[in-house]
C-alpha cells in the first residue's frame, strides 16, 4: 500500500469535510426557529442583545466565514443554551463516556463474535454451530431499541441482577455495552464462521494438516489471517453503526454521552453544539474507516490501493 494512496485519502477528506460543514451549517440556519425561542418568551431587547452577543445578526455568510475561521483553530464556539460553556468543554465532558461505551461494545462484539464463529466453524452442523448461529439471526434482525429494553426488562427488572440505568458503577456498563455490541457480535460470528470455513477448504490447509500440524496451530497460524479478512472489512461499517447506535443506547440507559447530548441540542436548536457534535461524528467515522482500510491492506498482501 503506497504512502501516496494514504495521502490522497487524507486529502479527499478536506473537501468532504468542508461539504459537510457547509451543508449542516445552512441546513440549521435556514430552518425555522432559533435557539432563544423557548417556552418562556424573551423580551425583544434581551433577544436583540443575545443575538448581538452571539453575532447572530451578522449576514449569514459572515457568520459562516467566522465559524470556519474558528473551526480551523479547533474552536467550536460557545454554546447558546448552556451559558458560559463552550462546545469544546461540553464535548470534552461527554465524549469520553461515549468512547468508553463504544469501545466496550466493540470488545464484546469481537469477543463473542470471534469465539462463537470460531467454534461454529470448527464443528459445523453440530450444536456448537446451530445454537450460536440461531442467536446471531436474532442479533441481526432485532434492533438495538428492542434488545436494550428487553435486556433491561429481564436482567434489570425481573431478575434484578443489574442496574437499569445510569453510568457510575462498573456494573452500570454491562447492559448498555451488551445492548450496543450484540448486533455486531452476531454479524461478526457469521463472518468469522464463513471466512474460516472457506479458508479451511483451501489446499494449503490440507497441506498443513498433511504435515501433521495440530488443529490449534492450523487455526491460529494458517487460518486466522485469511479467515478474518471479512471481519476486518466489516469493522468499518460496524464502528459507524456503533457510533450511531449509541444514540439509542444512551437514550435508553440515560447515559450522559455524546449521542444523547447531540439529540438534546438538536431539539434545543443549540446551533453550535449541533454543528460541533455532528462534525465530531463525521470525523470519527472517517478516521475509523481510514484505519480499517490500512489494517485490511496489512492483512491481505493482495490488496493494493492506488
Amino acid at each position: 500500500m503506497g504512502l501516496g494512496y494514504l495521502l490522497k485519502r487524507l486529502a479527499i477528506m478536506v473537501p468532504v469535510f468542508f461539504l459537510v460543514v457547509t451543508m449542516v451549517f445552512f441546513m440549521i440556519r435556514f430552518a425555522p426557529g432559533g435557539p432563544f425561542d423557548g417556552e418562556k418568551a424573551v423580551s425583544p431587547e434581551i433577544l436583540r442583545n443575545l443575538n448581538e452577543k452571539y453575532h447572530l445578526n451578522d449576514p449569514l455568510l459572515v457568520q459562516f466565514g467566522n465559524y470556519l475561521k474558528d473551526l480551523v483553530r479547533g474552536d467550536l464556539g460557545p454554546s447558546f443554551k448552556y451559558a458560559n460553556r463552550t462546545v469544546n468543554e461540553l464535548i470534552a465532558d461527554s465524549l469520553p463516556v461515549s468512547l468508553e461505551l463504544g469501545v466496550t461494545a466493540l470488545i464484546w462484539a469481537l469477543l463473542i463474535g470471534l469465539v462463537a464463529g470460531g467454534l461454529a466453524s470448527m464443528k459445523p452442523n453440530t450444536v456448537w454451530d446451530y445454537v450460536p448461529m440461531s442467536f446471531s439471526i436474532l442479533g441481526i434482525c432485532l434492533p438495538t431499541f428492542v434488545i436494550g429494553p428487553l435486556l433491561v426488562l429481564v436482567f434489570g427488572i425481573w431478575l434484578e441482577w443489574l442496574p437499569v440505568a445510569g453510568w457510575d458503577a462498573p456494573e452500570d456498563r454491562i447492559l448498555p455495552s451488551l445492548t450496543l455490541g450484540f448486533a455486531y457480535a452476531a454479524f461478526i460470528s457469521r463472518l468469522t464462521r464463513g471466512g474460516l470455513m472457506e479458508i479451511r477448504s483451501q489446499d494449503f490447509i490440507r497441506t498443513a494438516r498433511a504435515k501433521g500440524l495440530s488443529e490449534a496451530r492450523i487455526l491460529i497460524v494458517h487460518s486466522l489471517r485469511g479467515g478474518l479478512l471479512p471481519v476486518v472489512s466489516y469493522l468499518g461499517p460496524a464502528l459507524a453503526g456503533i457510533i450511531s447506535g449509541a444514540l439509542v443506547t444512551e437514550t435508553i440507559f440515560n447515559i450522559p454521552g455524546l449521542g444523547r447530548f447531540f439529540i438534546q441540542s438538536a431539539v434545543n436548536r443549540d446551533y453550535t453544539v449541533v454543528m460541533g457534535t455532528a462534525l465530531l461524528y463525521f470525523t470519527l467515522i472517517f478516521v475509523c474507516n481510514f484505519f480499517v482500510d490500512i489494517m485490511y491492506a496489512l492483512l491481505d498482501p493482495r490488496v493494493k490501493y492506488e
Binding site: V16, V20, A31, C141, F145, V146, L150, L153, R269, F286
Partner: protein
C-alpha cells in the same frame, strides 16, 4: 456456497426458474405469506380495527391483554392492538415509499453511469464513494429536527440515504450486460436498441435490484422506528411501531406487554423481510455471493 446455474430448459424464463427456486425455500415462502397477511390486515385496518386509534378509555388504563383488548391498553386506555395495526400502516408505508425513492434515484444514477461510461462514470462513482463515508443518519436527524417532523420529508430523507448501493449494483449490471454475448447476438440479428434494453437489459438487471430492494425495505423500516423511538419521527397522536416501543419502554415496569407486543410485531416483520430477501437472492441471483 452458490448452487450451479441451472441451464434453462426450453420455455423456462429467468422468472419461472426464480419462482421455482423460491417455492423450494420454505422459510421464504412462509415469510412471504406472513408479510402478505400483514399487508392485507394493515390495508384494511380502518375497517377491521376493533377500536378507533385515538379512542381513550380512561377507566381502563394499562390493563393487561384480555378478550376485549387483545394486546391490553396503554396509559391513556387506548387499545394497543388497534394502535399496532395503525402503526403497521405507517411502518409499511415508510418501508415501501422510502425504498421506492431509493430505487428510483439509485437505478437512474447507476444506469446513467454504466451506459455513458468513461469520465462521467468515473466522476459519478467517485462521488458515490465519497458519499458512502457520510453517516447519513445524522443528517436525517438534523433534517427531522429542524424541518418539522414531516412524514413525507422522512420518506424522502430515508430513501435518499439508501440509494448508493443500489446505484453501484445497477451500474455493475449495466456494464457487465453490455458486454454479454447475447446482447451482441441480438445486435447482429438486427434487434433495435430500445428492444434490447426492454427485452434483455432490464429483465436481466432487475434481479439484483429486486433482491437489494427487499433488503432495503427492512433497513428503512428499522430507520423509521429508530427515529420514532428517539422522538424524531412520527408524532403523536399518530403512532408507528417505533413510537409504540418507545411508549412501552416508559411503562415497562408496570405494563411490560406494552413493550412486548409492538417489539414482537416489529421483530417478526423484520425477520420475515430478511428471510424473504435472502430467499429472493438465492432464487434470482444464484451466482451472487452470500455476503
Amino acid at each position: 456456497m452458490s448452487s450451479a446455474v441451472v441451464v434453462a430448459e426450453k420455455g423456462n424464463s429467468l422468472w419461472d426458474d426464480a419462482v421455482a427456486r423460491l417455492k423450494k425455500n420454505r422459510l421464504a415462502v412462509f415469510s412471504l405469506c406472513l408479510l402478505a397477511f400483514e399487508l392485507v390486515i394493515c390495508l384494511l385496518t380502518p375497517w377491521i380495527a376493533p377500536y378507533g386509534f385515538e379512542v381513550q378509555d380512561l377507566n381502563n388504563t394499562l390493563s393487561g391483554p384480555s378478550a376485549a383488548h387483545w394486546f391490553g391498553t396503554d396509559a391513556l386506555g387506548r387499545d394497543l392492538f388497534t394502535r399496532v395495526l395503525y402503526g403497521g400502516r405507517i411502518s409499511i408505508m415508510v418501508g415501501l415509499l422510502a425504498s421506492g425513492v431509493s430505487v428510483i434515484v439509485g437505478v437512474i444514477y447507476g444506469a446513467v453511469a454504466g451506459f455513458v461510461g468513461g469520465k462521467l462514470d468515473n466522476l459519478m462513482m467517485r462521488a458515490v464513494d465519497v458519499l458512502y463515508a457520510l453517516p447519513f443518519i445524522f443528517l436525517v436527524i438534523i433534517l427531522m429536527v429542524y424541518f418539522g417532523r414531516n412524514i413525507v420529508l422522512m420518506f424522502i430523507a430515508l430513501g435518499l440515504t439508501q440509494w448508493l448501493t443500489m446505484a453501484r449494483i445497477t451500474r455493475g449490471q449495466v456494464i457487465s450486460l453490455r458486454q454479454k454475448e447475447f446482447v451482441d447476438a441480438a445486435h447482429t440479428m438486427g434487434v433495435t436498441g430500445g428492444t434490447i434494453v426492454r427485452r434483455h437489459l432490464i429483465p436481466n438487471a432487475l434481479g439484483p435490484v429486486i433482491v437489494y430492494l427487499t433488503l432495503t425495505i427492512p433497513t428503512v423500516v428499522l430507520e423509521e422506528a429508530f427515529l420514532s423511538f428517539l422522538g424524531l419521527g412520527v408524532q403523536a397522536p399518530m403512532a408507528s411501531w417505533g413510537t409504540l416501543i418507545k411508549d412501552g419502554v416508559d411503562v415497562m415496569e408496570i405494563a411490560p406487554w406494552l413493550l412486548l407486543f409492538p417489539a414482537a410485531t416489529l421483530s417478526l416483520t423484520l425477520f420475515c423481510l430478511n428471510f424473504l430477501g435472502d430467499g429472493l437472492r438465492d432464487a434470482l441471483d444464484p451466482k451472487g455471493a452470500k455476503d
